[in-house]
């Protein structure tokens, strides 16, 4: 005889519970946390390098965790900014999960940080499903990728609290259609702020830094509202 047993459990419940715990730790420590997601080659690391350097220069206490399938090249590159940086090597896993975050935070005093940036593995699909406890999810899109990318990967762009356009300095050379891109973003995400940046010229970097510090607070507030009974 067979019988049906009701389960009614989220498949990623373990990750979600851990992420909720991380979010509470971040809130208590007063650190704004953002999770950067994009395809490989969007220029997350170059933008992060410019952002960390600008943050360190003005005395914002910032640290970064960077995820890649292999090598610590990005961590070495970012450490030049003077900010504490740790590499998370996922060994071919296509996304970061919250247990990797808590593991790699060991020894860091979160209350001594203003801003923590998590650079996810370059991938537009898989990281979307995994909450890392961040206050702000950032989706990045470079001008070389095609204006319709948000329409092709709606799950990520819909879930973003903030959308960042990168490499705007070469927009003209690659015939970047800014209006088409804005329409594509807005069709899947009517509300998230959009910031246009260039790691090379520094355009938008300070604006992004300010927003990450602010937005995390705002987004954290929204999370709390959503979780309230």
């Amino acid at each position: 005889m067979t019988r049906i047993v009701e389960i009614r459990k989220g498949i990623l419940e373990k990750n979600d519970l851990l992420a909720t715990g991380l979010r509470a730790r971040f809130d208590e420590a007063g650190v704004a946390v953002s999770n950067w997601v994009s395809s490989p080659g969007t220029g997350k690391t170059a933008l992060l390098e410019a952002l960390l350097t600008a943050a360190v220069e003005r005395g914002t206490r910032v640290a970064a965790l960077v995820g890649d399938c292999a090598t610590d090249n990005d961590a070495q590159r970012l450490a030049r900014s003077g900010a504490p940086v740790r590499q998370i090597v996922t060994e071919s896993m296509c996304h970061l999960e919250s247990d990797m975050i808590s593991e790699h935070l060991e020894g860091w005093h979160l209350s001594e940080l203003d801003l923590l940036i998590i650079e996810n593995v370059g991938n537009l699909v898989c990281p979307t499903a995994y909450d890392l406890g961040e206050g702000t999810r950032v989706a990045l899109l470079s001008v070389t990728e095609g204006e319709d990318k948000p329409a092709k990967y709606p799950q990520l762009f819909h879930s973003a609290d903030l959308v960042v356009i990168t490499k705007t300095d070469i927009g003209a050379a690659v015939e970047w259609d800014r209006d088409a891109a804005m329409r594509a973003i807005r069709s899947v995400n009517p509300v998230a702020p959009i910031i246009e940046t260039s790691a090379r010229t520094g355009a938008g970097v300070i604006e992004l830094l300010d927003l990450l510090l602010l937005r995390s607070v705002a987004a954290t507030h929204t999370h709390q509202l959503q979780e309230a009974p």
Partner: protein
């Protein structure tokens, strides 16, 4: 391709829910939202791999897709045809407030009690 991670999570969650470790599972029913980013075929393939050598080895995987439902401030709950356009199908107002469609849930499992009884 995070479907393999998801499949492993399905298998371990079901095993944790079994009344005894050698209970035989004949079916696992999932509810996967259209906005979850999961490709059902890829999940089915990954599940076959993840279930091997476990009490789920012979369990059929049933995936139910749930639609994207938004909450329009004017028209209330509205179902979207796809994830391409977050505007209300009634009044065309842009709306990103999603009520459902992101879920990835194990709904229920079917157990073969004959096997438990034979122990």
């Amino acid at each position: 391709m995070h479907e393999l991670s998801v499949a492993h999570a399905v298998v371990s969650t079901v095993i944790d829910a079994l009344p005894s470790p050698d209970t035989r599972v004949t079916q696992v029913r999932l509810r996967i939202g259209m906005l979850s980013g999961i490709v059902p075929q890829a999940l089915e393939f990954a599940y076959d791999v993840a279930a091997q050598g476990t009490p789920l080895a012979d369990a059929a995987l049933v995936i139910e897709r749930s639609p994207i439902v938004i909450s329009c401030p004017t028209c209330g709950s509205q179902e979207l045809a796809d994830a391409q356009n977050f505007t209300c199908p009634e009044c065309s107002q842009p709306c990103g407030d999603v009520i459902s469609g992101k879920e990835m849930e194990i709904v229920d499992i079917t157990l073969d009690d004959a096997v438990v009884a034979a122990r």
